[in-house]
């Protein structure tokens, strides 16, 4: 195994961005859930509020949740802009370095995309093997990832735009109400994306990528040739890989 050829599929930039995303997004989701549905998620902030409530003159019984929510709201409003700034910087980095590969599968004809999507869903949900032609035509990201990326972009625009407006703009009550609604819709979409993403990266087929994400960004070349053959072929054509597929 030590002699096995490896290939970098996740750059340092991508790994740093993903790690920061993981931290910021988790914080935003947890604090956002509390603000959205205290009746379900008060337990998240209760332990934070218990020691803090007496410090601000409230009893632990009645003040723990209040103080906890106030802390959650402060974290939410502090983390949101940081997350937005990170997204903007990462987006610029991707555009400048021409590393946006996630939409490559969308260049395929629609019929082929649908065939690939159905085959992948059958594989992930039912464990059915992929047809040979679909398997050989897989890019760095598959077409389901491309579709999910579109959902994510819409969600980010909704939560980011409305969140920034609520923090930085002096909105009228009606404008604020609309922004809050858009924020909610964006949040629900982002949770849908997150659930699908969690399923994908914890799927046994993708464990090598998960490990690569949190180590050196490299996977075995043999594995990559099987899982993203078209991408490997294009890198080989560009001369970035010494030995293309076997």
């Amino acid at each position: 195994m030590g002699e096995e050829k490896e290939i970098e599929i996740l750059s340092m930039g991508a790994r740093i961005a993903h790690t920061l995303q993981l931290i910021f997004f988790t914080l935003l989701v947890l604090t956002g859930l509390v603000l959205l549905s205290i009746e379900l998620f008060a337990w998240i902030v209760y332990p934070i509020g218990v020691p803090l409530a007496p410090m601000v003159g409230l009893s632990q019984e009645t003040g723990a949740v209040t103080v906890g929510v106030e802390v959650a709201r402060a974290i939410h409003r502090f983390t949101g802009p940081l997350w937005g700034a990170l997204l903007i910087v990462y987006g610029i980095y991707l555009v400048i370095t021409r590393k946006i590969l996630v939409f490559e599968p969308l260049k395929k004809p629609i019929k082929q995309q649908i065939r690939e999507a159905i085959a992948l869903l059958n594989y992930y949900a039912l464990g059915k093997p992929l047809p040979k032609d679909v398997e050989e035509d897989l890019e760095r990201h598959n077409v389901l990832v491309s579709y999910l990326a579109i959902v994510l972009i819409i969600a980010v625009i909704l939560v980011g735009g409305s969140g920034a407006a609520m923090i930085y703009l002096n909105l009228t009550p009606d404008q604020h109400r609309i922004m809050l609604l858009l924020h909610d819709i964006g949040f629900y979409l982002s949770i849908l994306f997150t659930l699908a993403h969690i399923f994908a990266f914890t799927h046994p087929a993708n464990i090598p990528i998960l490990k690569a994400m949190f180590t050196d960004g490299r996977v075995a070349l043999k594995w990559a040739e099987k899982h993203m053959p078209r991408y490997i072929r294009s890198r080989a054509l560009r001369g970035e890989i010494e030995t293309p597929g076997e």
Partner: protein, 301 residues
């Protein structure tokens, strides 16, 4: 958005406001400010008598003066004079209407808005975090942000009513505008007024606010047709907030179900992968690793 138990809209207390009796003296406004210890606020000139021009964090009750034009008939010694555009001033003593199922109480993320057994909707200032969700949810534009960042509004003088007294504004009124009574009685009186030709606001309003409010307003119909549309929203509902509530009621269980399904699919995928590996190793007589760098037996990224 908090799930709350509200007293039934037919129980508790209510105030019937007979606007026709109001002389616009503002005694109620002053009594409210005094009893609740609210500091005076600097206001700006407006071309009406209404001052301050709207409810404020320190002004929980404001007499709203509406200028309307009406036709008046004056009879004197057998002669009749008809004045077509006579200016009439209609004062409406306005404060929180204390909705039967206050949407702002549902919207508060910390449960700082309490509803007393009598039906008074009260913001507990010490628990308010100043998020403004209550102001977003209120169709009557009642909660106002104070200089300390917290939101304030009429408390129905809950401290007085729970000690057997009427609200300060009710007690001080020299013109018998307010009738502080049980909801049952207030509804009965309001319906009698309606039957006598007056227009009533608050008896049958949108379900968003619980179908009824606890401050019920009655005014002669010729004036009411001009004044009520200015003072009260046509529909007592904030559409965006109503949509948020509907979306939440679908999304929360929906996301829970999807999460469970994703988890189940994940477990199945890992189980199938393990079975495949065991079968593979039995076939080849050794463990079949090497799919990736240090783990993972599937096929697709």
């Amino acid at each position: 958005m908090v799930k709350m138990e509200f007293p039934s809209k037919d129980s508790g207390i209510a105030v019937l406001v007979n606007i026709d009796n109001c002389i616009g003296c503002r005694a109620c406004q002053v009594a409210c400010q005094t009893w609740n210890g609210r500091a005076p606020s600097q206001t700006s000139f407006s071309p009406t008598f209404t001052n301050p021009p709207s409810l404020m964090a320190n002004a929980w009750k404001v007499v709203m003066f509406h200028e309307i034009t009406m036709e008046k008939v004056i009879s004197f010694e057998g002669a009749t004079v008809r004045i077509t555009d006579a200016v009439e001033m209609v004062p409406i003593p306005y404060n929180c209407l204390h909705c039967a199922a206050a949407p702002r109480a549902r919207a508060c993320p910390v449960g700082a808005i309490k509803v007393s057994p009598e039906g008074a909707v009260v913001i507990e200032a010490s628990e308010c975090i100043g998020c403004g969700y209550c102001a977003d949810a209120c169709p009557y534009d009642v909660p106002k942000r104070g200089s300390d960042g917290k939101y304030y509004k009429c408390t129905f003088c809950v401290d007085r009513i729970q000690n057997g007294k009427a609200p300060a504004c009710v007690e001080v009124c020299p013109a018998n505008v307010f009738t502080f009574t049980s909801m049952e009685n207030a509804v009965k009186m309001a319906m009698e007024m309606e039957a006598s030709g007056k227009k009533v606001y608050g008896l049958d309003v949108d379900s968003y606010v619980g179908g009824r409010v606890r401050w019920i307003f009655a005014l002669s119909s010729d004036k009411a047709s001009k004044v009520f549309p200015k003072q009260f929203p046509e529909k007592a509902v904030v559409q965006t907030e109503s949509l948020r509530e509907a979306l939440k009621s679908i999304s929360m269980p929906g996301l829970g179900i999807i999460s469970a399904a994703v988890f189940a699919l994940g477990v199945v995928a890992w189980r199938m992968d393990r079975i495949r590996r065991i079968r593979g190793s039995k076939k080849s007589g050794k463990d079949n690793g090497g799919n990736g760098k240090g783990g993972g037996g599937g096929r697709i990224a």
